[in-house]
């Protein structure tokens, strides 16, 4: 019986694995998602090329449809400082289910159409040192 219980136990290495994953997740979040910015741009990329860059502001609404030569179509809705993909003719609809994007760094991806809608802030240079404390 004792032997059986031993099988269901966590070992020290397991916690290290979890800690490493959390560190990695936290590190990427801090680096990519938490960018303090006053002005936010909505960037639409297709096949790795930026198609449009729209500055977002309160009260500004717009709907635009991105269509490529293969008939792939995504409709992007802008409502103030939030953006979403409202319609798409892709099979999985994951981009539509992603919902509203509100913060800089967030993105909605449509893999079948190779399309990314992404919010970017003004401060894009992460390499600069903000403050030096000794």
């Amino acid at each position: 019986m004792k032997q059986k219980n031993k099988k269901y136990r966590f070992l020290a290495g397991d916690f290290w694995v979890i800690a490493l994953i959390l560190c990695l997740a936290g590190g990427i979040t801090a680096h990519y998602l938490l960018q303090p910015a006053q002005t936010i741009f909505c960037e639409i990329q297709q096949n790795g090329v930026v198609q449009q860059r729209i500055q977002l502001a309160d009260g500004y609404t717009d709907t635009l449809t991105i269509t490529d030569e293969d008939g792939h179509s995504n409709t992007i809705a802008i409502d103030g400082k939030q953006v979403r993909i409202s319609q798409a003719n892709c099979p999985d609809q994951v981009c539509v289910q992603s919902g509203w994007l509100k913060y800089a760094g967030q993105s909605a991806v449509c893999l079948p159409h190779r399309l990314i809608v992404r919010l970017v802030g003004t401060q894009q240079t992460n390499t600069q040192i903000d403050a030096w404390v000794q």
Binding site: Y8, G13, V17, I21, A25, L33, G48, Q106, S107, V109
Partner: protein, 169 residues
């Protein structure tokens, strides 16, 4: 012996395929809308094959599973993503299995496998989309890998405890 091993490989491939189909029925993306999020049930088969058979046989099972899986229910994109994620998970789990019961239990190994699968998928997405911006999805996927990996680890642990009573090979 040769025929028996081959049959076992084919059987494991079939089970993995069924698990991928069953997985599709669970509407996980409706709850967590991240492209590529899944339970990773087929990872149980990879872990099982790694433990009871050779790495080569596991790689063959994985390749057959991903190829047939993307033919049945996926697309070309699904194939690229499955290959990248699957083989990174296989490599990571094979590495950690060397220290099984010393440093890691099956929970940790399958959590690491799930995380590696996600990293492989995102790497494939970076090449597919031509930008590194997709990396923004990785933190959520990685955090989700912990409960998903725990679940598959639990299933593997229970399965192995039962299979030790039967002589399968």
């Amino acid at each position: 012996m040769q025929a028996k091993r081959m049959t076992l490989c084919a059987m494991l491939t079939a089970i993995a395929l069924v698990l991928s189909v069953v997985e599709k029925w669970i509407p996980l993306t409706a709850v967590i809308p991240i492209p590529g999020i899944k339970l990773g049930l087929a990872n149980i088969i990879t872990l099982f094959a790694l433990k009871s058979m050779s790495k080569k046989e596991t790689a063959v099972i994985l390749l057959a599973r991903v190829t047939m899986g993307s033919l049945f229910l996926g697309s070309v994109t699904g194939f690229i993503f499955g290959i990248c994620g699957g083989f990174l998970a296989l490599g990571t789990m094979a590495l950690l299995l060397r220290r099984e019961n010393q440093w890691f239990s099956l929970y940790g190994i399958s959590i690491a496998g799930a995380a590696a699968h996600n990293i492989g998928q995102i790497a494939a997405a970076i090449f597919w989309l031509g930008t590194v911006d997709v990396i923004g999805y990785l933190p959520l996927l990685l955090i989700m890998a912990i409960p998903m990996g725990f679940l598959t680890g639990l299933v593997s642990t229970v399965t192995f405890a039962h299979l030790q009573k039967i002589k399968i090979l």
